[in-house]
Symmetry: C2
Subunit: 504 residues, 2 copies
């Protein structure tokens, strides 16, 4: 049996080599590839995706899994091998239902779709992207059909990113959360607004780049096993546990967006960099779900990066780098400016209080689109009307509207809800961290992040995908995924920032 | 039969997708990969190489080739399909003799070897590289053994880069060439030496970068289908005919080395960019041999880039960019400085007159190493003593000696002779070009390269690998590959530069 397990692992290792190479193809497309390379890139992604899929769904894998099922049952359930076999079986059972052609087509149309999205966004012409998106939506519908019957066509897609979650469960979560977030945003809008005009003064790109690099190095992002580049949309990608890369984007008229992106992506990357290296080249060698992943990125971006203590650490560095832009801004104004709440158009730049509303909007649009309630051609109109409803703002063009995010061009339907789940889990973890690390605030205000990083490494990162999201959250906090700590965190923080009375 | 041909082409297309992806893995390693990624990269290259090899040598390919042999015989011999089938058959017949494990190992040890070479070069410690190189030499010996019997163990390796060539034929060529080049270098050394002290003044990196970019753009290197990056060793790589990338390296105390590298690699890249797009994703979609490839790079670097006419075009730009470094240097001194002949340590920076001596040295060392006449451990000593013999110079360390070139770390044994062949072919083509394009000198001095580029595209580039090197040279020049035009070119040029009487 040990031989069969070794054989299975070897085959899985090679499949993961292919997945890492696919990640490189995508990273390169988003950072370096000249526009003329897109047809080649689409073929390369399609061929490699097909081969990876054929290898995972090969009869030999199914037979090895069958042969190993008694062996697996006898292993301690928390052992690495038991968890590995469980996940391989889950992935095998899922992928074996999907025809290779659909996988190949998905890789091809999303490689082409990404370039079309970039052009459409640059030129603010949704029509350039529309035919691509129509193909992608159709492909995702066909993919979901492979798993019929389902409660909602959304479920098989969501399951790829957030195991154990369903559209119905997300709805329950969002239905509870929405009125509380709307109420908070409303209360804030009735308080006196914070002035953050300084945030949109001129912050030269190269200095922003240096500031961001310095901060994430201090966080503990390991540049021996990673690098940061610029891309149209910030992302993290893993080319193996020894090579976890991030990207950011910088706007010279925005102090926080580039830095926030860097801290966010470094949070993702430190998760992967912290995984036990013995899980490399296997499905255990990645974050357990995108929700848990997002808990890491949002924790570093917000609980740390937008905290009063971090601003104490950041402020003198920022003043030194941008003395003109920050003239007349004291530490308190700096902190409050960074935490100004005002419903706005761009998700990745949204304040903490309104962020989840962006996610709810996307979730509803995805549900409507996949269930055929409206067409891709109507997307811009639907988007704009929902923005008005949810956030009270109206995009003046698609560039800052429906074309703002890369996800749909990559076919990532079912992905957005994980951002909101990440916010909730981040707050749950933060409560526990504050308990476990006395003096955490002092550490942060002194730029000392190693205690925090090691806590995360030990409690979250090292496990990779060994535990399911709910198992992991329960293991660490003793509770299920819940929105209570998040709303408590938001209410406390923003009542203080806006000088409002305590809230429920 | 058309169906079978289509099926074969489809399989070959996918194999070439894998080759292009392998090229990306290597490009990324040499330009971007963090050091921690090397183990993952080695596994990825090994897995992909194995899959590409297994696919090419699959029974189904052999059967399709057999089924198509009568069909092939009836095609016009110069038709694309006939040429394609011929090359697929050649590659299949060769690779089917090689075990997949050897291919996989080669990819793994060369990925690791490259990083070891980089470190060894940085630290000037040959011992860091030695065990890697020993593995690589052993692997190449085993690879060559797959093709026994052979006249020389070198032949199967050389054949991968230069079909129709053998170690014996290279010896004949070099034995004729060596005394003539040695005599020329000696004559020059007895003439009054040119002063080129200005060449090693300070030339800021960013300005050199801009100058190089401008020049190769003017040559016609297409940045829509390519890009230039920095790497420890300059190279060109094709990720598909829509994405042909080059790298360069810049030394601030050397006016020409970065620019020369850029022009050289752009010469390679324009060859691939000029191939008929219908050959993309097939073995026809690349240069027909490395010798012919090198004829293109050396032609742009030397026949163009070191010509009197080009210096007329370059000089005012250079003076504008580097007014301090070029103070007191007139156009004539500039031209003569760039063409100063002085035997030196670094091949890629060698003058035209002594360049081939570097190649002969490497050829002899490779022959000795592969035939077991000396060990990797002796390499540094052998190198230094041959440098003294051939070029009369002695490396003061391995960094500028045996560790200077990337090739052996990549396992590229049998590759170096193609550089000398390229020089010869470049001169043969140049004679024809000068005949075919009246006023070429004037075009060049005005920075107008389109006539030249289009001549090359039409006569050389577009054919890809349709014709063998000898076929192509005969088709264009009416003669075999020969050293006569090259020696004539060198003698004419350098007698003029050094004010010597007519030679040869």
């Amino acid at each position: 049996m040990e031989n069969k397990l070794a054989l299975l692992k070897q085959q899985i290792n090679e499949i993961y080599d292919l997945h890492y190479v696919l990640a490189l193809l995508d990273w390169d497309q988003q950072t370096n590839m000249p526009s003329g390379g897109v047809e080649n890139r689409a073929s390369q992604s399609a061929t490699l995706s097909k081969i990876a899929h054929q290898r995972l769904t090969a009869d030999s894998i199914g037979e090895l899994l069958d042969d190993l099922s008694d062996y697996q049952a006898e292993l301690p359930p928390d052992s690495a091998d038991a968890c590995l076999l469980k996940i391989i079986r889950r992935d095998y059972n899922k992928q074996v239902k999907v025809p290779a052609e659909l996988v190949e087509e998905f890789a091809r149309i999303t490689a082409l779709g990404q370039q079309a999205w970039e052009m459409a966004r640059e030129k603010d012409e949704f029509l350039l992207f529309q035919p691509h998106l129509e193909q992608i939506v159709a492909n995702r519908q066909q993919y979901a059909e492979c798993f019929a019957p389902y409660d909602n066509i959304y479920d098989p897609l969501l399951d790829d990113y957030e195991p154990e979650m369903s559209a119905a469960a997300v709805k329950v979560l969002f239905d509870k959360l929405r009125p509380q977030q709307v109420e908070l945003v409303k209360a804030i809008s009735e308080a006196g607004q914070v002035d953050n005009a300084f945030m949109s003064r001129n912050y030269p790109e190269d200095k922003q780049w240096q500031l961001g690099l310095g901060i994430i190095k201090q966080f503990g992002y390991d540049f021996e096993c990673g690098r940061q580049d610029k891309a149209m949309h910030p992302f993290t990608t893993t080319l193996g546990l020894g090579d976890v890369r991030i990207t950011t984007r910088i706007a010279e008229d925005d102090f926080f967006s580039g830095l926030g992106s860097s801290m966010h992506e470094a949070g993702h990357a430190m998760y992967e960099q912290g995984i036990d290296r013995k899980f490399d080249r296997t499905p255990l060698g990645s974050g357990t779900s995108l929700g848990i992943h997002e808990s890491q990125s949002r924790l570093w971006e917000n609980m740390v990066g937008r905290s009063r203590e971090f601003c104490q650490y950041l402020y003198p560095q920022a003043v030194k780098m941008f003395p003109e832009a920050l003239v007349g801004i004291d530490n308190e104004a700096f902190y409050r400016g960074i935490n100004r709440v005002a419903p706005s158009l761009i998700r990745v730049e949204a304040d903490e209080a309104s962020y989840n509303l962006h996610i709810m909007l996307r979730f509803e649009i995805e549900l409507g689109l996949l269930n055929g309630e409206f067409a891709v051609a109507d997307l811009s109109e639907v988007w704009n009307s929902k923005m008005a409803d949810y956030l009270g703002v109206m995009p003046e063009n698609d560039r800052v509207g429906v074309l703002q995010d890369v996800h749909w061009s990559c076919g990532l339907f079912g992905y957005f809800p994980t951002y909101a789940i990440g916010n909730l889990v981040a707050a749950q973890l933060w409560e526990k961290i504050v308990e476990d690390i006395p003096g955490l605030g002092n550490f942060i205000s002194q730029g000392e992040f190693s205690e925090l990083r090691e806590w995360l490494r030990k409690n979250i990162h090292c496990h990779g995908a060994k535990f399911t999201p709910q198992e992991l959250v329960r293991k660490v906090t003793g509770t299920q995924i819940s929105s209570v700590p998040y709303m408590k965190y938001l209410n406390n923080k923003y009542c203080e920032v806006y000088g409002m009375g305590a809230r429920g």
